[in-house]
Symmetry: C2
Subunit: 117 residues, 2 copies
């Protein structure tokens, strides 16, 4: 309402401060670790990669269900990724589509590469 102009986004910090510049606080570590944890399972990482690399950055569950586990398990992992803030889901008719949140992903990555400034 008030700051509709080009506000410099004072201290939003979408998710993850850089790991290499100062020690993380307990709270920061808690939030950031939750995201790394979500990517720390092979099946979830494949699912995430399948969604992220799909055309338009989104994919139907039916397109990515072939990762070697049962379909309930796929759904379970997608839910975890959604709860971690890495994916969003939307139902369009019969199918449910998942897509990545690019900003969160980029911020997470930047928390790692910021070392080589």
């Amino acid at each position: 309402m008030s700051n509709t102009k080009a506000s410099p986004v004072p201290k939003v910090e979408p998710c993850c401060p850089p790991l290499t510049e100062r020690p993380l606080t307990a709270e920061e570590a808690e939030r950031t670790a939750a995201m790394f944890k979500a990517l720390g399972d092979p099946v979830r990482l494949r699912l995430f990669s399948l969604v992220a690399s799909h055309d338009g950055g989104e994919a139907c569950v039916c397109d990515i269900s072939d990762v070697g586990v049962s379909q309930p398990t796929v759904s379970h992992h997608l839910k975890k990724l959604r709860e971690a803030g890495l994916l969003t889901s939307e139902r369009r008719g019969t199918w449910v589509y998942y897509r990545v949140d690019p900003s969160v992903l980029a911020a997470l990555g930047r928390s790692l590469v910021s070392a080589e400034t």
Copy 2:
């Protein structure tokens, strides 16, 4: 040793292919997830951040043992980080020093940020 000359390191791929350009194979996901998993615990992430942000990129265990868990637990987590290839350790006299592997860290980060090319 045949290739002692200045080989351009053909396709080493230190650890982690980009997640957003093509679906990861099961094997790639396995290896990459292992690193994310190592960073997926709050205590480990704090320990890692403490080492990474310390002067000279290395820290004595005695400097980073104050993260709210017992000392054996700290040692246990440092071992996990070492096994994941994120930290290396070296004993110099009485104290053991841990330091980060910058190349692995950067490669991991790049696997996330490569989306915004």
